[in-house]
């Protein structure tokens, strides 16, 4: 099969889908031995600068409208519900610190987390429980979902904006819940974060 034909197939498969497809899924529609990644780069190149672009999100591929045309399209959809500042900030703490426990989120934000916030973020399918921290009490840790990556156009959590700066400034070090609670001082005990179950930990 000629390359041009293989490109047509990839184009058709991706265009027909409203969610990202993995290169493995795409390969199923192609002859054996087809260089899917190379073909994807070709298609991406061909659509570069057009009204529709091929983007890589959450390790998968999808066509979406060009970002600079947002002004034109935005009116077409119902106004999305605005997240509260608390929810946005919680989402940020979870995405940058993941896997992170509820207590740690509260520690970073300096305020207790009302129940509704995590619910909202999980209902939006942006946040999910990831496992349990191997510390006393085995608290549940939270992290972001693939849907979060797709929604914000990220290929992986390594691509979070400003991640490198936050890390360099030492703000993503293990959250120590005793840093401010000096009234009953405790030596900071470093918690070993649990290995994330599905997504790579953005921390070292």
């Amino acid at each position: 099969m000629e390359i041009i034909e293989q490109i047509r197939i990839i184009e058709a498969l991706l265009f027909a889908s409203d969610r990202p497809l993995s290169s493995i899924a795409l390969a199923e529609g192609l002859p054996e031995g087809a260089d899917v990644d190379h073909l994807l780069r070709d298609v991406q190149q061909q659509y570069h600068g057009r009204g529709v672009n091929l983007v890589e999100v959450a390790g998968k591929w999808m066509f979406q409208t060009a970002p600079d045309l947002a002004f034109l399209l935005r009116k077409e959809v119902a106004q999305e519900r605005r997240l509260s500042r608390a929810a946005v900030e919680t989402l940020a703490v979870i995405s940058y610190h993941q896997p992170v426990t509820r207590t740690e989120v509260e520690e970073v934000r300096g305020v207790s987390l009302s129940k509704g916030i995590l619910d909202t973020l999980m209902a939006a399918d942006w946040v999910r429980p990831m496992g349990r921290r191997r510390t006393p009490g085995r608290p549940v840790t939270y992290g972001t979902t693939d849907h979060f990556l797709v929604h914000f156009g990220l290929d992986s959590i390594r691509d979070l904006p400003g991640l490198a700066e936050l890390k360099a400034a030492g703000f993503l070090e293990n959250v120590n819940t005793s840093r401010l609670n000096l009234l009953n001082d405790e030596k900071p005990t470093e918690e070993q974060p649990e290995l994330p179950t599905y997504q790579p930990d953005i921390r070292e």
Binding site: Q64, T65, A70, E89, R109, V111, E165, L183, K187
Partner: protein, 266 residues
């Protein structure tokens, strides 16, 4: 004063105008803040210096003034502020007084550095949150195919059952039904009562030793029934011997059992 509808940046600007520094005596509401740390960050930023260079002493003063002016509406919320105020006052005293060597405790500078760190971290995560939310969001700024053409999957089932499995199933079925269907057929039996009745009825008519099994009814048919009659007759003869009604004798092992009526007069 809610911060939900304004950006976080503008929320801070609004609040700092009402900070005690600018409007002394103005009654401040804590409803718009997300706890003492939020207030501290706002106050630190009002120092209009890099967060790394904030004056902790000045920050303590600002916070204590803020708390003094706060119009407290909810006690449980105020408690957080009072705890923070107490801690800051403690920190201030530690910073001002010569450092003593207290074991297992952080130095005042360390405590101050940690507070600064937390404020910087919160500030940084807020900026990151703002950057994140400013990204092109799917369904808000960029759009997926509005009219996806779903892949129609027709599943043709092909079942894989081997001949072995077929036979196994039949055999298992047979095995199960064999076990399930065991029926104990009602056995035709000659009861002990019947045997006693027959022996008692006939023994008087027999003069001398007689083979026990000659008392078997003529009508007995079949091996099972024969065995049942023999067993019952034998048991009956033992019972009657016990009662002293008859005598029995067997001359050799497996030999015939003889029976005769016992003469009471003996």
């Amino acid at each position: 004063m809610t911060d939900e509808d304004t950006g976080q940046q503008s929320a801070f600007e609004d609040l700092s105008v009402k900070s005690p520094e600018d409007d002394r005596g103005l009654i401040v509401d804590i409803e718009g803040f997300e706890g003492p740390l939020d207030v501290l960050l706002m106050l630190a930023r009002s120092q209009k210096v890099d967060l790394k260079q904030i004056s902790i002493l000045e920050l303590v003063e600002q916070f204590l003034e803020f708390v003094a002016d706060v119009k407290v509406q909810k006690l449980e919320k105020a408690a957080d502020y009072l705890v923070m105020a107490a801690w800051l006052a403690y920190l201030k005293s530690r910073l001002l007084l010569p450092e003593e060597n207290i074991e297992d405790e952080f130095s005042a500078e360390e405590m101050a550095a940690r507070l600064t760190y937390r404020l910087q971290r919160l500030n940084a995560i807020r900026e990151a949150a703002a950057t994140l939310m400013a990204r092109n969001q799917l369904g808000r700024d960029v759009f997926a195919r509005g009219r996806p053409e779903p892949v129609i999957v027709t599943r043709t089932a092909s079942y894989d059952v081997s001949f072995y499995e077929l036979l196994r199933a039949y055999a298992d079925h047979k095995t199960r039904s064999a076990i399930a269907d065991i029926r104990i057929h009602k056995r035709e039996v000659y009861t002990l009562d019947q045997a006693l009745e027959r022996l008692q009825e006939l023994i008087g008519t027999i003069p001398d030793w007689t083979d026990l099994f000659r008392f078997m009814p003529e009508s007995v048919m079949g091996e099972e029934m024969t065995r049942s009659v023999k067993a019952s007759l034998f048991t009956a003869s033992l019972e009657m011997t016990r009662k002293g009604e008859v005598e029995i004798i067997q001359k050799q092992p497996f030999g015939p059992v003889f029976i005769r009526k016992r003469d009471r007069k003996d």
